[in-house]
Symmetry: C2
Subunit: 302 residues, 2 copies
C-alpha cells in the first residue's frame, strides 16, 4: 500500500497570497490523514482536488494558529456539504474547546460527530489499522508540541499466480499462506511458503516534525525511516533566532536526518523573511544529500 | 471626507480558490473599518494592499463562520507584525470568548490590547468620531445578526480663499466661522457666513446588510442613504430556500433598495450554486436600476 504526502502549505507564521500555512495530506490506501491545518487549508484542499469528506483523521501538532486556525472552517464546510461520517481529531488539550465554542456560539449543530483525542505525551499510539500505525513524537517547542510517526505494517505475502494451480491450494488455506504459513498438501508434503508466495513490499514510514528546536531525542525514534519532514524555519545564519524561538535551521534539520539515517528529508515551515528556498536546499545538502523542499502542491512518495 | 468600500469577498458559506468569504473595508479619511472577516480575509487584505495595522475597528455582523473565522488569524498576524495600537472589536456576545480562548490555549500574549464591544440590539451607536457615526441595524437571520450604518457627519464649512484677506479675519475667529458663525469685524459690521465660506460636501452614508431575510423594518432606517450593500444569496427562483435559510434574493434586495430610495445597491454574499453573477444583476435591475455586483477587489465610492 503506497504512502504519499501532499504538501498543502510550507509557510510559517504569516500566510500570504502565494505562501500557505502548514498542512499536509498523508494518503495510505483509501485513507486520507490531514496533518496540521493552518488558515485557508480548506481552499488548498480544493485547489489540489482533495476530497475533503474522505478525511476521517486530523492530527494537530500544537496550538499555534498557523497550525490549526483552518480547522474550524474545514469542519464547517464538511458540515455544509452534508457530511455524516464521524471525524477523529487528535491534538493537544484544549483543541476540543476551541472548536466546540465556535459552533456553539454560532448556534450550529454539526451533521456529523467529532471525536477529540487529547495528546499529552510522546510515544502515544493515536491510530492503528491493518496497514498503518500512528504514534506521537517528542518535539521541543515553546508550547506542548508533538510530531507524528506513520509506520506501515508488514503486508501480507502475495500468492504466486501459478502456485494456486500447480499445488492445488484450497481456498480456506490461502489466508494462512499469505500470513506466512507453509502449505501441506493432501499427500502430507510440505511446500515452503517462499516457493508459493512473493514477499510483500517493504513497509515504509514517514515522520512529521514541526515545530521544534534541534532535538537529538528524535534521532533514535526515527532511525532509518524512509521520509522525514523536519521544519527549517531559518537558515543557519539565524541560528540564535532559531534557538530563541524553538525552531530549527536547515542545517539542523539535515543533521537530524543524517544522524537518524533516514531515506529522504523534506524541509518546510519557512520564515517569510526568505524569498528563495534555494538556500535552504544548499545548506541542507551540504550535510544530507537527499534533501528536498516541501513544495506546495507536490506529492512525495514515502 | 470621501467614504469608500473595498470588497474583499462576496461569497457565502463555502470559500473556494476564486471566491472569498464576506469581508469589506470601509475607508473614511485615515480610518479603515473592517466589516466582517471570513476565513482568509488577511490574505485578501494583503492581495489588495490594505495596511492591516491601520485597521482599528472591526465590525462582525454575526457568528456564522463565513463572517468571522478569519478574525483570529488576522489578529494573530497583527501581533506577529508587532502591533501596539489597541483594536476595537464589535460583535455579538460570545465573540470575545471565541477569540480569547484561541490565544490563551496557545499560550500567546498579544502585543496589543483588544477591546470587545458586545452588540445586543439594533440602534446602538458603536462608534463616533468627528467625521462619522456607526450604528447597528436590525437584520432577520437564524441567529442574532446586525447590519451597520455608517453615517458621515456634516463637515465644517470651508473658508473662501479670498475672504481671509478681504475681511481681515483674525486666526482665533476662524474655527467658529467654519462651524457656521457670522463674522463681526472691528467696526461692528456683521459679515454673513455664506459670504465668507463655502458649504462642505454633502455627508454620505453606507449601510451594510448581511445576512438577512427580506425585511421591511430596514426601509425607514436606511431611507435615502447613498450606498446600500444588501445580501442576495439567491435568485428569486430559489425564493423558498431563501426564506427557509433567512437569506434574500436579488429581487428582494432590489425591493428594499427601491422602497428605501437609496442611491446605489451593491449585491453580494452569493451562493456557490451560481456560476455567473450576471443573473443577479439582471434580476435586481428590473426593480432597481442602480444595482451593482460587489465585485471582489473593487473599491466603490459611497
Amino acid at each position: 500500500m503506497p504512502l504519499s504526502v501532499l504538501i498543502l502549505g510550507n509557510g510559517s507564521a504569516l500566510p500570504t497570497v502565494n505562501t500557505h500555512q502548514t498542512a499536509q495530506i498523508l494518503a495510505s490506501g483509501n485513507e486520507l490523514f490531514l496533518i496540521d491545518c493552518g488558515e485557508g487549508t480548506q481552499v488548498e484542499l480544493r485547489r489540489h482536488s482533495v476530497k475533503i469528506q474522505r478525511i476521517n483523521h486530523v492530527f494537530i501538532s500544537h496550538l499555534h494558529g498557523d497550525h490549526f486556525f483552518g480547522l474550524v472552517g474545514l469542519l464547517s464546510s464538511m458540515h455544509l456539504l452534508g457530511r455524516t461520517n464521524k471525524i477523529h481529531i487528535y491534538g493537544p488539550e484544549g483543541l476540543d474547546e476551541i472548536v466546540q465554542i465556535q459552533f456553539r456560539k454560532g448556534g450550529s449543530k454539526l451533521s456529523f460527530e467529532m471525536e477529540f483525542h487529547a495528546i499529552n505525551s510522546a510515544g502515544m499510539v493515536l491510530f492503528e489499522n491493518k496497514n498503518l500505525i500512528v504514534e506521537t513524537l517528542p518535539l521541543n517547542h515553546r508550547i506542548p508540541c508533538f510530531g507524528f510517526l506513520f509506520k506501515e505494517k508488514i503486508g501480507l505475502r502475495k500468492l504466486k499466480a501459478n502456485a494456486l494451480k500447480e499445488f492445488d491450494i484450497p481456498k480456506h488455506k490461502r489466508k494462512g499462506i499469505t500470513e506466512g504459513e507453509d502449505f501441506i498438501n493432501d499427500e502430507g508434503e510440505r511446500i515452503p511458503n517462499e516457493k508459493i508466495t512473493n514477499a510483500p513490499a517493504d513497509p515504509v514510514s514517514y515522520a512529521y516534525c514541526s515545530d521544534t528546536a534541534y532535538s537529538e531525542k528524535l534521532i533514535e525514534l526515527i532511525k532509518g525511516i524512509d521520509l522525514l519532514y523536519h521544519e527549517s524555519t531559518f537558515l543557519e545564519s539565524e541560528k540564535e533566532r532559531a534557538k530563541k524561538t524553538f525552531h530549527s535551521t536547515a542545517k539542523q534539520a539535515a543533521q537530524v536526518a543524517n544522524l537518524a539515517g533516514v531515506g529522504k528529508l523534506l524541509l518546510g515551515h519557512f520564515s517569510n523573511r526568505y524569498r528563495s528556498k534555494e538556500r535552504f536546499l544548499m545548506e541542507s545538502r551540504q550535510i544530507f544529500k537527499q534533501s528536498f523542499i516541501a513544495e506546495e502542491g507536490v506529492e512525495f512518495k514515502v
